[in-house]
């Protein structure tokens, strides 16, 4: 049996490969957490370092204060470890 190349499907007919089309934000990784970072707003200087270090993009600055999005924070503790003024404390999740 032989197949003529001219009779084969061209790239336009080939179905697209695996397409990841749903936003990752639909999966709430916050339920991985066993420790919860708590920001002390009095101490926080708004330096933004924790925002950059957080692997999960779970910290944003709101009115120049760090704010944690607990939907996505995995509780790694990097923010608490790295905050230059120790404004973040890790407390066990209940």
């Amino acid at each position: 049996m032989s197949i003529k190349i001219s009779e084969m499907a061209g790239w336009r007919e080939i179905p697209v490969a695996g397409v990841a089309y749903r936003p990752s934000t639909e999966s709430k990784t916050g339920d991985w957490r066993s420790f919860r970072p708590i920001v002390n707003e009095e101490k926080c200087t708004g330096c933004a370092l924790c925002h950059f270090f957080c692997p999960d993009g779970a910290i944003s600055l709101v009115n120049e204060k760090a704010k944690v999005d607990y939907d996505f924070c995995k509780g790694c503790g990097i923010c608490a470890e790295e905050c230059p003024v120790k404004a973040i404390e890790m407390v066990p999740e209940r």
Binding site: V19, A20, P23, A48, F52, G57, S60, G75, I78, E81
Partner: protein, 324 residues
């Protein structure tokens, strides 16, 4: 190289292009690196990712964490894939079919996909001179498949395929000097970066995008699972890697047929004040993959060899950068 007016405050307000909800491990510094790289983009950007932790865990079908056009092809060919994108964009532009003035291309590869499996494709884009930025996030082993040693794994590190015991002390070979190898290809711009210094890293990404021709950024990316340290310690280790001169920060480009090496902030400070250089033990001790160097007894000979290896590479770099 022109100085950009990038500040952490402004960049913090820029929305993440790598979204939360990805499945990288808790405390994974590769994820922090990818977020910072994406903060540095300057306009329309296409990302290609080699097989690896970053690719697998940011695109668990049907979900994706990428808020830019993104493609994964295979383990060995992210550089080739990215070069195809660049060539396609050029052709579209020639025909007036491109609606943007310019599109940046970033290729992400891990150490396995860069030092080993993807090396040929990487060498190819450097030789052909494609205008794109290749980011190597180096967690120093095949972490995604279960901590197998790679060309980027350091001397004496335990991995599942270089187990430390009576026969070998962890990996018996040294790390391949990948960034210098890229410089020797006459790349337009090469730099090393550590996520412990976010502004330095972000500025280097920007310079890599601005460079005309292939740019390469080598980023150290501590891995909590494979290096065996608590999830909160990754950035600290990325800093210690620089402070011990195990992973010095520098940039390099070519001028009049010569490579120009320039040390970056924290490493330049150590070059000027050598007493600031920390002993490598401070970096090794917190990591389980080096635990056999300290327990059950200290392996003085191995520790001495590791320190000597670092000192040797550091003095070579100092020479290249015009110190000493």
């Amino acid at each position: 190289m022109g100085e950009e007016k990038l500040t952490l405050k402004d960049l913090a307000a820029k929305p993440d292009l790598l979204a939360p909800g990805h499945r990288m491990c808790a405390g994974c510094v590769s994820a922090s690196v990818a977020r910072m790289v994406m903060k540095a983009t300057r306009g329309p950007t296409i990302v290609a990712t080699a097989t690896g932790c970053l690719e697998v865990a940011t695109t668990i079908l049907p979900y994706t964490a990428w808020r830019v056009p993104w493609i994964h092809n295979a383990f060995e060919n992210v550089a080739a894939t990215a070069s195809g994108i660049e060539s396609a964009l050029k052709a579209m532009k020639r025909r007036g079919a491109l609606k943007y003035e310019h599109v940046d291309i970033i290729a992400f590869g891990g150490d396995g996909g860069t030092y080993d499996i993807g090396f040929q494709a990487l060498s190819g884009i450097l030789e052909r001179g494609h205008d794109l930025l290749y980011v190597l996030y180096d967690n120093e082993a095949y972490m995604n498949t279960g901590i197998q040693r790679s060309g980027g794994t350091p001397y004496c590190a335990w991995t599942t395929t270089s187990p430390a015991g009576k026969v070998i002390p962890g990996k018996p070979q040294w790390k391949k000097p990948i960034a210098h190898i890229v410089v020797e290809h006459r790349a337009a711009y090469v730099a090393t970066a550590s996520p412990a210094y976010p502004l330095d890293l972000i500025k280097k990404v920007r310079r890599g995008l601005e460079a005309e021709g292939p740019a390469f950024l080598h980023v150290i990316a501590p891995c909590t699972r494979g290096w065996r340290f608590p999830t909160n310690m990754g950035i600290k280790l990325a800093r210690l890697a620089v402070q011990t001169c195990l992973f010095p920060l520098w940039e390099a480009w070519w001028e009049d047929g010569h490579p120009v090496y320039k040390l970056s902030g924290p490493s330049e400070a150590i070059a000027r004040r050598p007493e600031m250089k920390k002993p490598v033990e401070e970096y090794l001790k917190p990591q389980g993959r080096f635990a056999h160097l300290f327990k059950p007894e200290r392996k003085e000979e191995l520790l001495r060899r590791i320190q000597e290896g670092i000192d040797r590479e550091w003095s070579l770099l100092l020479k290249r950068a015009g110190f000493a």
